[in-house]
């Protein structure tokens, strides 16, 4: 799942590339949680489903990551993996695998406090999909 970290004075960003739009949203979620915890430290024993809406693909990306981030900072759940079941320009239906936070087992690497609209990009090029997201840390 390819993504790059973007270095910014006060914050952290990710630049994601993917072969299709499903993978784009999945990779963005994966990249966000990899900043919080090493994916290898999670089992993803529990599963749930999620439906998200947005005004357009970019807004949808923010709302998707927002809702997943609330798993962590609102409910103390760490997301191991996501799978997009269905995606349109304005909606996502997805499955989420996660583990409840266990302070004995889970080392938190860094804090992501919010997903911002700043510099937000979700676009399709000739061969791939690209997204750029900046987090408040």
């Amino acid at each position: 799942m390819p993504y790059e970290l973007i270095d910014h004075t006060a914050d952290l960003g990710i630049a994601v590339t993917a072969g299709d739009i499903h993978e784009l949203y999945e990779t963005a979620a994966h990249a966000m949680f990899e900043q919080i915890i090493e994916a290898g430290a999670l089992n993803g024993r529990e599963k749930t489903t999620l439906s998200i809406t947005g005004m357009d693909r970019a807004d949808l990306m923010i709302n998707w990551l927002r809702e997943l981030l609330f798993f962590w900072n609102g409910r103390e759940l760490l997301v191991k993996r996501t799978q997009i079941q269905q995606v349109t320009d304005t909606g996502i239906a997805a499955s989420i695998w996660y583990d409840p936070f266990d302070p004995q087992r889970h080392e938190i690497l860094s804090d992501i406090k919010a997903v911002t609209y700043h510099g937000l990009r979700v676009e399709q090029t000739e061969h791939e999909w690209r997204a750029l997201i900046i987090f408040d840390v």
């Binding site: 860094s110 919010a114 609209y117």
Partner: protein, 478 residues
């Protein structure tokens, strides 16, 4: 092409042009202004100058740096009827702020016990990512916190009535309405009261190193060699969630008064609209949460000092100097075109700086003006300033808030490789305790601008005056 014109040694301006409704004005110094020219910060201030109802000028303090939507270090006043209110103009960490307390202890008295005290405080003050406190409130009790602010904490035994007197707005914005906030925000807030959090938040033990204005310092309770406690934290997940909830709502409308917003993060609503009013009432809840949070943390620090040193409250003599907020929107009276008007002032990474005799100041500071607390990086110095009449004339009674980052976190970590920052700080006479794996590297002193340059610029421009310098001797980070 936007041109930044120097007006005098401490003022720069972009003249009103194009979509700008007012000029953009930066209070700075020749050295600090160079950084502003390099990145997008300066464009962000020009964006703010385009918003409906903005009055006089879009303003920035010398510690201005890039933010989301509004720049950090930005101040903007809006007409209460025609103007806008913006979650991005306040920031995610609503009422992120600073509280300073002074003690009767001298550095010489404390020095032999400093390490023990730092360890105690590290145990007493929950730190780190998603840290939770000893308090787990029911939603009903949390709603009382949101309504009452600091008074709630004092009524539960966390601190003294005098702490509340020496807090901006007496630690409570009366328009707070818990029904305006989301269930998600309540859920995040319930477990986080009395916690420091992570990032740039800290608890610092310091010593008064230099007094510049002896009479004012005396009223503030500051004297050379006295030990102080400085706290920097905000409304934790509660404030972040509140900001995010309203950003999501307001961003659905990419225009305001028919004008397309230059940046989605600049999402805003008319102050008098239903969503604008709701945001203001919810933001006030987060402000009250933050004041309560700092009130509880100060109480924990007091207890930590007493237990670690085995002294009585009287021997410790810890008195709050002041508590100020950095991220807020408030209705205040200001003179616009020679007439007094109630306007909505946004301060994002900026501090209120009211002068002597301002009616909103408590009795103790009527003659001096409001104490202003400016933290620097953890290895150098922090400053105490006082409000001056010039701030009322030019900056809606506002001044700078701190040093501001200069280096990205990644760059700081890279620069810290192979070094022991703990040892480097110890060589400077600072004991450090921290929770996060990379906190110390990310927050290293050279990642920040020179705080002395920042306070010299606000003093040079006449909007506030330097009263005292504090030197850190121990720091606790998340």
């Amino acid at each position: 092409m936007m041109e930044l014109i120097q007006i005098d040694p401490y003022r720069w301006e972009v003249k009103k042009a194009g979509a700008m409704r007012v000029p953009a004005r930066i209070f700075s110094s020749r050295r600090l202004i160079e950084a502003v020219k390099k990145d997008e910060t300066f464009k962000q201030l020009v964006n703010v100058a385009q918003l409906p109802g903005i009055l006089n000028a879009a303003l920035a303090m010398p510690d201005i740096h890039w933010g989301y939507g509004f720049p950090i270090g930005g101040v903007a006043g809006f007409d209460a009827d025609q103007g806008v209110i913006s979650p991005g103009g306040v920031g995610y960490d609503i009422n992120c702020g600073v509280r300073l307390a002074a003690t009767h202890l001298s550095y010489e008295e404390l020095k032999p016990h400093l390490e023990k005290l730092t360890n105690y405080l590290y145990r007493y003050v929950p730190t780190g990512v998603g840290s939770t406190g000893q308090l787990k409130l029911s939603k009903a009790e949390l709603k009382k916190v949101l309504k009452q602010g600091s008074r709630w904490a004092v009524s539960k035994g966390y601190g003294e009535a005098a702490d509340v007197d020496c807090t901006e707005d007496q630690g409570c914005m009366p328009d707070a309405d818990p029904d305006a906030v989301s269930q998600k925000a309540l859920e995040r807030g319930r477990k986080q009261l009395g916690t420091l959090g992570s990032g740039n938040h800290f608890l610092e033990i310091g010593v008064v190193e230099k007094i510049y204005e002896p009479e004012t310092a005396d009223v503030f309770g500051l004297a050379n060699g006295l030990v102080t406690v400085l706290l920097h934290t905000g409304s934790r997940g509660f404030g972040h969630q509140t900001c995010d909830d309203f950003l999501a709502h307001m961003a659905r409308n990419p225009t305001i008064d028919g004008m397309e917003l230059p940046d989605r993060q600049l999402a805003c609503a008319k102050i008098q609209s239903s969503i604008g009013r709701q945001y203001y009432r919810a933001m006030a809840c987060a402000a009250n949460f933050a004041w309560t949070n700092r009130q509880i943390l100060l109480h924990n620090a007091r207890e930590g000092f007493q237990q670690a040193l085995g002294i009585s409250p009287r021997q410790l003599g810890m008195r709050q100097v002041y508590d100020i907020c950095h991220n807020i929107a408030k209705f205040e009276n200001h003179t616009i075109d020679n007439a007094s008007r109630r306007i909505c002032v946004h301060r994002k990474g900026a501090t209120r700086a009211f002068p002597p005799h301002h009616p909103d100041l408590c009795e103790r500071y009527q003659k001096t003006g409001q104490p202003i607390l400016i933290p620097g990086d953890m290895g150098t110095a922090s400053y105490v300033l006082v409000g001056a009449p010039q701030a009322m004339a030019e900056t809606f009674g506002s001044t700078c808030h701190g040093a501001g980052r200069m280096m990205s976190r990644k760059a700081a970590k890279k620069s810290a490789k192979g070094r022991s920052l703990e040892k480097e700080l110890a060589e400077k006479g600072v004991i450090a305790r921290w929770t996060g794996k990379s906190t110390l590297a990310e927050e290293m002193p050279e990642a920040y601008k020179d705080v002395t340059e920042v306070v010299n610029a606000v003093e040079g421009s006449g909007i506030s005056k330097i009263v005292a310098r504090l030197r850190p001797i121990a720091v606790i980070k998340g």
